[in-house]
């Protein structure tokens, strides 16, 4: 779980929620900032802020104060999460196999 400002340039994330005053939030949502939308950080302005984000095929510039109130789930994090889960499964399986082997060994002895 992170916010829009954590994105590196070129990185894409999935939008989770906006923690902004109602009117601003409503406005941004009509510009495409809705949950589950894919947001990509495109580039920073020459002075380092605001940052241009691509969402729904549009390019929208947001200052840091606004972007830091937009919660996103990094797509990279999500995929590493999946890999971790996969690895855990494999580890669990091998542990189970080990146990079986032990059991088998115990039974044959």
């Amino acid at each position: 779980m992170s916010v829009l400002t954590d994105l590196r340039i070129g990185e894409t994330a999935t939008l989770i929620a906006l923690d902004l005053p109602d009117s601003v939030q409503n406005f941004l949502m009509h510009m495409g900032f809705v949950p589950d939308a894919q947001v990509t950080a495109l580039r920073k302005a020459p002075a380092g802020d605001p940052t241009v984000y691509a969402i729904d095929g549009m390019e929208i510039a947001l200052r840091r104060e606004t972007a830091k109130s937009i919660r996103v789930r990094s797509n990279v994090e999500a995929s590493t999460g999946a890999i971790d889960a996969e690895l855990n499964k494999i580890a669990a399986n091998s542990r189970a196999e080990q146990a079986e082997i032990h059991e088998f060994a115990g039974a044959t002895r």
């Binding site: 941004l28 009509h30 949950p35 020459p46 802020d49 605001p50 095929g57 510039a61």
Partner: protein
Amino acid sequence: MNVCCETPAFEAPQTPRSGGLSTVVLIGPPNSGKSTLFNRLTGLRQKVANYPGVTVEQRMGLMSGVGRDDLTLIDLPGVYSLTPYSEDARVSVNVLKGKMPGTPKPDAVLLVLDSLHLTRQLMLAAPVLALGLPTLILLNMSDLMESRGGKIDTLKLAKELGAPVAQISAVHGSGLDSVPLFLNQCALPPAAKKAELLLTLPVLGNAASTHRWAAQVSRRTGYKAPLSAENSRKLDSVLLHRVWGPLLFLAVVIGVFEVVFAIGQPLSDGFGDVLAKIGSVVRPVLPAGWLQSLVIDGAWKGISSVLVFLPQILLLFLFIGILEDSGYLARAALIADRVMRTTGLNGKAFIPLLSAYACAVPAIMATRTIENKRDRFATILVTPFMTCSARLPVYMLLIAAFIPPKTFLHGFLGLQTIVMLGLYLAGFVAAMTTAWLLKSSILKSSEAPFILELPQYRMPTIRSLAMRLVDRAKVFMRQAGTVILAVTLGLWLLAHIPPVPGPGGHYTAPELADSVIGKMGHFIEPAIAPLGFNWKVGIGLISSVLAREVMVSTMGTLYGADPETQTMHLQNALHTDMTLGGAVALMVFFAFAMQCTSTMAVVRRETNSWKWPAIQFAWMLTLAWLGAFAVNHVINAFFG
């Protein structure tokens, strides 16, 4: 501006009006091309450009572009939803719902959507369709859609939305036949219409639900978004580059001024010769005496001294037009945001401030896109510091007269350009400093979000650029024919009374210094003498409160009325009468002072009180006086 009042009283409508159709409204998200379409359908010239928020108030016109003079079309500021966020969007929603006093309730809706971003743009379709008015959905920018490989099934979309859908290109004028067809359909009695399909709409007002609905609709109708503008992104990687971006921005600004001087100056000089020729041709036609003096030395000298600058001003507007239509302005806003934020100004203030380079009046109206009232007022108060085109004649006259045409860097950078840039910079710095003072004192507010949609780059069309120039030339000529002519005639009169008895009992004009205007000038001279201004400049300062370019015509008339300088070119006449310090001080005075009644009137209208224009006038006059005083003394100390 109620254009519909000009309708002739008797007229045979081409189509039966049994449907009671009389008012049609254009609605759509910002920068979807509503005003371009409005201009096509009405044949009017509403301002258009490639950035969101160009239109800030409703505009009405008869639909003569499609042969329907009996119908009024209303153009509205763009909205993302019908829950308004800013002043300009509130106007749209009120008009659409028929709640705007003085504006007729619309009978039919033309919903303009940018087909390049249809999914998101469809979100507006839900609340608009829910209004229950006959609606035609126009998918604009279909030309770009095709060339970029996007796809849309209009038939399916029409079924899905229960409303007719047409693809158009407002810029090229294609697909517009659908509009009169739709309007004819609307005018038929309800029985003749096809049974309307029942429509499932999302929970209105809930953005997430609306977005889900829009996404479903676009998926079911097989919408394929065009390839995202690779070219725009490639351009941006240079134009918004950390190093190249700001450098290119600076190069563009310097380049524009260099061209305005290097190419514009000879053009203006040539035009000036033509105007002088006209004067000398007309002179012998008129009987010698007061009439000749009034028409040639008074009116014509005054007006032509301002008209001379038309070529240079048009050249500048050509560049502004290219920058606006291409979509570069929104990028410039991004580059400048850092400066704006330090002053506490709202990020959205940048676009009004930039458009103030043409004229402060539309710029002040453009502040309606700023939601926060304090932010909006702060922007309104600093806008007149930006160098508007009415200051240009004053600057150009004085620069041509006093600044030698030296060049540096192998001729790439002229001294005249540097002085001109310095004046633009002085205005900008004054605006930013004033903004900072206001935002850290009486207009303090919490920081407003900066949300700016970057439009894709578009090639400006010759048609649109030409229309801008024609319009600008018209405004300039109208100003010369009204305000400047009136002031010039008044000045000439005041310069010729009271008549003094001459030889042979004839009454003749007094010496300029003894005339009413001369006495007035001498009366205020003590207040402006420390700035290096003589009494003639003083008269110019007073008359130019009406409009800045009146300064130049006043000088033309006064030096034309004085026998000593009558035959001289205005530049030479000024040169004999002013010091370098006084001339530069005069330019600085004009950079800061609020010499414009139209601006004061619009500030009073937009802030709804005389308090703000009064504060603004006093503050700008103070800065102008102090700035001119300092510059006059510094320059005289170094070069005097």
